[in-house]
Symmetry: C2
Subunit: 139 residues, 2 copies
């Protein structure tokens, strides 16, 4: 890892544009993707310059796994989904980010992955605000 | 987690059919996907009944993250790829498995995710054997 000050990190503009912030955990900022097709969260480790999981220090990777589990459990309990889909892809937005998507049999892309298989669907703003609130209560 | 004997675990038949085995790490069996479009590995934690990441005990999740990093580093060094794509999806094959795919700008699905965006391509058997051998040397 490149030496860094914590203040060097900022959220990538594309993630800023496509999401709503939930909260910050010890390592990651938690976001909700603006796509009502799926309850879709994104974890962004606040580490300047990280692109790949292997760019993180080992203790950050361990923390990230714990936060993935914490957020995954909250999302599963909240949505009673059939399957969690968890991924670090980053072919378009390079800043390291981890998707956690609550999938349901018969949803807009099932059984395919969510990326690129369904046009994003606008949220009802009250439904989005309620999801964010419920996540804040649980995280 | 359900109480289990180590001997209860076996590889899901679909993963058995679609892959070639590389080796066993402390937790995971490492496989190469039979698709020459991408150098594509799969890690399968040898834990009976695990479907979600959150089904694993915390110490197994930490080990899995370390093995993802170890395998990801080996694959990146070997392929000099542009991006690693790492994911636990499991909408079709329920047994917990983690994909680690070496992606290159201009490959068969770039910049889309690899799943479902390119028909699988048969390997030249010598190229596949060489990849497996190189991975064994590094893991």
């Amino acid at each position: 890892m490149i030496a860094q000050l914590p203040s060097d990190w900022s959220l990538h503009p594309r993630l800023e544009k496509d999401t709503v912030a939930v909260c910050d955990l010890a390592l990651s900022r938690i976001l909700v993707m603006n796509d009502a097709n799926f309850p879709w969260l994104v974890l962004v480790p606040r580490r300047y310059g990280a692109i790949e999981l292997i760019d993180l220090a080992e203790h950050d990777r361990t923390t990230l796994m714990a936060e993935i589990a914490q957020v995954g459990r909250a999302l599963k309990t909240l949505t009673m989904c059939d399957k969690l889909n968890i991924a670090a892809i980053g072919n378009i937005v390079p800043q390291l980010h981890v998707h956690i998507i609550a999938r349901r049999r018969g949803d807009a892309a099932w059984p395919k992955p969510a990326w690129g298989h369904a046009a994003p669907l606008d949220y009802d703003q009250r439904a989005l605000a309620r999801l964010v609130e419920q996540l804040r209560d649980r995280l």
